[in-house]
């Protein structure tokens, strides 16, 4: 706890035992010269500087973020199924996997389909895998956007050794529906959820063990309109050792919305306010 050395003991103890809370670090609007850029639905990073982002129109981009001037550069990258609504993205080691809506399916970076499961048959066209994450051992976890009914919990589907099962469920509460997921360095699954109304969007982040029935923690619930329509989440560790969350928004290609990068840190900012940099 080197960071505590200069602080009062009470403050330091409080920081260590208080409920986890997210600290908003920055929100940056992304602009691009690329005509098709927008509609972001998923994001992944391993280092917090270089990101892969997907759009729901089947485009993929390399995005680099220099926080010195909030400079964002964007370049197209190959997408294994460029005509599809891609909604989820996960690094299993160095290998990228992609999830899709309508129909629900997963592909590897070469475009090869992963086996499906009878459980996915008959889902509605807008009910594919919005959220995809890879555990530390490469096991894939996918969450559909719908649970079938308001009282039904969401299933977390798990793919390992060529077969699917349900690793756990988590409760559906309020108007929130899952849109993104990633694993944190703590081995837990971070699920981004979104609630939509005519007046704007709200976002929620919940964290849970990836299997079993341990309790689900709510880390963040935003007020209406604080952020754009956040749909992608990636969790990473900064050079300073902070756990950081980067999210991207789907502007739906509408002029009244904006493509936004929003970052939170799971731990308090370091001395002088430094966080996730």
């Amino acid at each position: 706890m080197r960071g505590c050395a200069g602080l009062a003991i009470a403050l330091c103890a409080g920081a260590a035992t208080a409920d986890p809370a997210l600290h908003h670090v920055r929100s940056v609007t992304v602009q691009s010269e690329l005509p098709d850029f927008g509609g972001l639905s998923a994001v992944e990073t391993t280092d917090g500087t270089s990101f892969v982002v997907l759009s729901d129109r089947g485009q993929a981009y390399d995005l680099t973020f220099d926080r010195g001037w909030n400079a964002i550069s964007i370049a197209p990258r190959p997408h294994p199924a460029p005509d599809r609504d891609s909604e989820g993205l996960a690094y299993a080691g160095a290998d990228l996997f992609y999830s899709y809506e309508g129909p629900a399916e997963l592909r590897d970076a070469s475009g090869t389909l992963l086996p499906g499961d009878p459980a996915f048959d008959g889902w509605s066209i807008n009910s594919g895998f919005e959220a995809l994450a890879a555990g530390p051992d490469g096991t894939l976890y996918a969450v559909p956007e719908r649970s079938g009914a308001k009282a039904h919990p969401f299933p977390v589907f798990r793919y390992r050794n060529g077969t699917w099962d349900i690793a756990r469920t988590f409760p559906r509460t309020g108007a929130f529906l899952p849109v993104g997921a990633d694993f944190g360095p703590d081995g837990r699954l971070y699920v981004l959820e979104r609630a939509f109304s005519a007046l704007g969007f709200r976002s929620r982040i919940r964290r849970m063990a990836p299997d079993g029935d341990a309790a689900v923690e709510t880390l963040l619930t935003t007020r209406l309109g604080l952020h754009d329509n956040l749909e992608g989440i990636t969790v990473w560790t900064s050079h300073g050792g902070q756990v950081c969350i980067t999210m991207v928004s789907d502007n739906n290609f509408l002029s009244v919305q904006r493509t936004e990068i929003v970052e939170y840190s799971l731990s308090a900012p370091l001395a002088a306010g430094r966080a996730c940099d």
């Binding site: 010269e33 220099d66 010195g68 001037w69 400079a71 002088a272 306010g273 940099d277």
Partner: protein
């Protein structure tokens, strides 16, 4: 800007230089000074993120965003964004680029203390086209990757600094043909050289890799 990075430290000559350049910028319409990005860390040395230079207190990044408000809070200076002045991957300037940028970079390059200035190639070519007077200062303005949210000034070794070694001077002339060639290569990339050596991955720096003075800095309290 970005005070939390603790990279707002420099050689006294650099601090003087930045203040002088800021006064020159304040004479430009729409500018009241400069927004100053990274210089160096206290007592210099390598950083975990961002730069390979900026290690000896003689480099400064200057934002392209016109500095109008000089009463920004620390939080403002953490969050505000600079502006890009390029389009077409740096082949051209965009509508954020103004004559004031030209004049401020000209003032920066005309200073005897300046060794080099790095800016994206489209900006150098634009300044080459727009400069109708003395062109000698253009020699110090060198095209480089990135450098469209800011320009980077590197000073020469101040007189009497032991252990400081100047880089070779830029090639003679205004360098405008070189910059134009760089732009042409952005617009029509040449085929990759099949015999080019593969770039070697850099390993992490260790204290033993650094000049011996650095061990003294680390050992001091």
């Amino acid at each position: 800007m970005r005070l939390s990075r603790n990279r707002n430290w420099g050689h006294p000559e650099l601090v003087d230089y930045v203040q002088d350049l800021s006064r020159a910028a304040a004479a430009q319409p729409g500018w009241n000074g400069l927004y100053v990005g990274d210089m160096s860390q206290p007592r210099g040395g390598p950083m975990l993120t961002g730069h390979r230079s900026h290690q000896i207190g003689l480099d400064v990044d200057v934002w392209m965003l016109p500095a109008r408000n000089l009463t920004l809070s620390a939080a403002d200076r953490e969050n505000i964004s600079s502006i890009s002045t390029r389009r077409a991957s740096g082949a051209y300037v965009n509508s954020n680029w103004t004559r004031q940028h030209h004049e401020i970079i000209k003032a920066a390059a005309s200073d005897k203390r300046t060794a080099r200035i790095f800016v994206f190639p489209g900006a150098k070519v634009q300044m080459c086209k727009d400069e109708k007077g003395d062109r000698a200062w253009l020699r110090k303005v060198r095209p480089w990757w990135g450098h469209h949210y800011h320009f980077h000034v590197r000073l020469s070794c101040p007189p009497g600094t032991r252990g400081c070694v100047n880089q070779d001077l830029p090639p003679a002339g205004d360098g405008c043909a070189d910059a134009q060639q760089w732009v042409n290569n952005i617009l029509n990339p040449p085929p990759p050289d099949p015999n080019a050596p593969r770039p070697k991955p850099r390993r992490e720096l260790r204290v033993a890799d650094l000049p011996q003075q650095c061990a003294g800095v680390l050992a001091s309290q």
